[in-house]
Amino acid sequence: MSSSDGHAANAHLAHHFDTIERQDYAVRLGMWLFLATEVLLFAGLFLGYTVYRHFYHEAFHEASRHLDLWAGATNTVVLITSSLSVALAYWAIKQDKQKLCAGLLVFTIACALVFLAIKAIEYHHKFEEGALPGAWYHYSEVTAPGANLYYTIYFLSTGLHAIHVIVGMSILIWVLARVLKGHFSSTYFVPVELGGLYWHLVDLVWIFLFPLLYLI
């Protein structure tokens, strides 16, 4: 079962795997499991949202009307567009189009920055209005009991999501740097794929957060 030939042919093959296919399968499986843990991490906040929406239905309904729908909608479009561009970057590297791949990654990272900028402006408004979590709440327009908890959930979930945007962006910057150094090609592109998967998760979480917080 010796596989020294395989190891000599592919520098990316670790010593404890026999074939690159097996190693790629392992890495992908590991990534999907990791994404499952991320979903469960957010699940706790979604549970909190559900419970408090049930308890304080009126306050949640009213408070959600006071979010900036246009900012949220723009951010949704920005993130969905970035998901497309990262998927295209993955396609490009599989076609050995390194420059196109790099360009698409730059576009994705730019989208992430736009998202964060819009989010920062939204946060700034909330701070000015006093629409803040828990004890810090002093927003005069929504006075129904439980409104402070709406903003607790809002800041916790969008805050945790923003951290994920920053992490995802950092991963994509690292992938971009390696693309520019010519590390990836149609024969080795797993890190591009994994970075893209993580970015899709970031996008997906937002696709749930947007309607829950802004629309309903």
């Binding site: 010593h15 499991l33 990791f34 499952a36 699940a43 979590p133 828990g134 916790l156």
Partner: protein, 548 residues
């Protein structure tokens, strides 16, 4: 009855170059990605944690010798039981068997060279160290008096320092997640040729089921403890009733992890028993598939049983009933395992040794702890027993009676593989007997005193409970004495123990097919597996079924 070593090598060999001495120096250990070295570092770490947790436990038992103050103040007492719980659960019990024996044995049992992600494995260890340091630092910086459960709103309003401990638990959670993720991928991708799923050793099945829980449940506790931390520091109101928050929500989120966490601790223990019992009965494990699938069954059902911790938290009777019924299913799966283990012993060629004594202790305590588990899952009974020493005794029967017995069985069983040397069998038997008896003497009185109404976590108690408390403390001293003996003869055996040889137990496990201690790369040639696991059809024959 046959002697343990009658079939093994007459002239055992200690390989001149092995994983312990292939690279030298502290730095080579701290930067290693070898799963076996990482396992040894986990072993040292969890044993230190166990020592700490044990010292705190002894301090508690001494304090409870008299109804009034004995050796410490009430505040110190509160901090002490919190320390005992946090250290034993997060620093010892959860990483113990997966971190040590999972890391050491899993790749060997799969015929693999390492786990799927060796660097991630080392990262898990560093995260464990970081989390442990933070948690302990938090304890020293003033301590926490909430108990290991961190129940809000007390935890969010207590004047004590909580944040470092919570952050520590959060980071320990990530260590646990990465270990579980690594093991799942390893089992999926690194099985040797011929090693199908139904040929895996039962320890591997148990680790697989455990890893699923680690991956799926741990993120929730991570989030929950961070929410408590944010609540305490930032007053976000999430669990604070004065701001509209719901403390019961905290309990749901906490137990959604912490009940499955019981199975993170117990399932690997059950896996150890399956493997060791086969070696000591010289017999195939009876009902292999039933034992394998019941691990997955426990992992699955365990996710839906958390509400039995909350029978008196204002749940609806419908919820109570549903959680009670689901909790009892755990008993069904556990019973499947116990019956199969006993059937494995039946008509086996039993070899008497220290690991077997621990297995017998395990079987008795698991049945006893499991039966009382059914009892406390019964809503009407639990209302009486809730938060009494009855519950304490019940879960210590599972966590100490089952997990520590299995940990000790594993430690004795795989010690020769890890270090290439044998421990002293006579002393091992003496301490095993001491520990089994000491354990029973510690916790059976706690069932009685709990049933009589003594609540948990109370600093003082009425005088009529004293005799049972004294009995419990006496039992704890026996336990401690047993552990001291083990520490002495195992450390002695590390240096002076006689050479073990490759397979001192004549086990059919794949991990015994390599040298003791193993080579840095485990096997010189990847083994090819041609027969079913635990294959003892022809006891006494040299192992031929694995082509190396």
């Amino acid at each position: 009855m046959s002697q343990p070593n009658q079939l093994s090598d007459d002239n055992p060999v200690y390989p001149a170059v092995n994983y312990l001495n292939a690279d030298r120096g502290v730095w080579s250990w701290l930067t290693t990605v070898d799963h076996k070295r990482i396992a040894i570092m986990y072993l040292v770490s969890v044993l230190i944690a166990f020592l700490l947790g044990g010292i705190f436990a002894m301090a508690l038992r001494v304090e409870l010798l008299t109804p009034g103050p004995t050796i410490m103040g009430a505040n110190t007492y509160n901090r002490m039981f919190t320390l005992h719980g946090v250290v034993m659960i997060f620093l010892f019990m959860i990483p113990a068997i997966p971190g040590v024996f999972g890391n050491f044995c899993l790749p060997l049992m799969l015929g693999a060279k390492d786990v799927a992600f060796p660097k991630l494995n080392l990262l898990s260890l560093y995260l464990y160290w970081t989390g442990a340091t933070l948690a302990l630092a938090g304890m020293i910086m003033g301590g926490t008096d909430t108990g290991w459960t961190f129940y809000a709103p007390y935890s969010t309003t207590t004047p004590m320092t909580l944040f470092p401990v919570l952050l520590g638990v959060f980071i320990l959670g990530f260590s646990s997640i990465l270990t579980g993720l690594n093991f799942i991928v390893t089992i999926h991708t690194l099985r040797a040729p011929g090693l199908g799923w139904m040929r895996m050793q039962l320890f591997v099945w148990a680790i697989y089921a455990t890893s699923i829980i680690q991956v799926l449940a741990t993120p929730v506790i991570g989030l929950t403890v961070m929410l408590v931390g944010i609540e305490k520091v930032g007053h976000f109101g999430l669990f604070d009733p004065s701001r509209g928050g719901d403390p019961v929500l905290f309990q749901h989120m906490f137990w959604f992890y912490s009940h499955p966490a019981v199975y993170i601790m117990v399932l690997p223990a059950m896996g150890v028993i399956s493997d060791v019992i086969a070696a000591f009965a010289r017999k195939n494990v009876f009902g292999y598939k039933a034992v394998a699938y019941s691990s997955l069954g426990i992992a699955f059902v365990g996710f839906f049983a958390w509400g039995h911790h909350m029978f008196v938290s204002g749940q609806s009777p419908t919820d109570d009933g549903a959680f009670a019924a689901i909790s009892m299913l755990v008993g069904v799966f556990t019973a499947i395992k116990v019956f199969n283990w006993v059937a494995t012993l039946y008509k086996g060629s039993i070899v008497v040794g220290a690991p077997l004594v621990y297995i017998c202790g395990f079987l008795f305590f698991t049945v006893f702890g499991g039966m009382t588990g059914i009892a406390v899952a019964t809503v009407s009974l639990d209302v009486h027993w809730h938060d009494t020493y009855f519950v304490i005794a019940h879960f210590h029967f599972i966590m100490v009676g089952a997990v520590i017995m299995a940990f000790l069985a594993a430690l004795h069983y795989w010690f020769p593989k890890m270090f290439g040397r044998m421990y002293h069998e006579g002393w091992a038997m003496v301490s095993a007997a001491l520990i089994v008896l000491g354990f029973a003497a510690t916790f059976i009185p706690q069932f009685l005193v709990g049933n009589a109404g003594m609540p948990r976590r109370y600093y003082m108690y009425p005088e009529r409970f004293q005799s049972l408390n004294v009995a419990s403390t006496a039992g704890a001293s026996l336990l401690a004495f047993g552990f001291i003996i083990i520490a002495i003869y195992l450390i002695y055996a590390l240096i002076h123990g006689r050479l073990a040889g490759d397979n001192p137990w004549d086990s059919r496990g794949i991990e015994w097919m390599t040298t003791s201690p193993p080579d840095k790369h485990n096997f010189h040639e990847t083994p090819v597996i041609t027969v079913d696991p635990h294959s003892y059809q022809n006891p006494g024959e040299e192992v031929e079924h694995v082509v190396i």
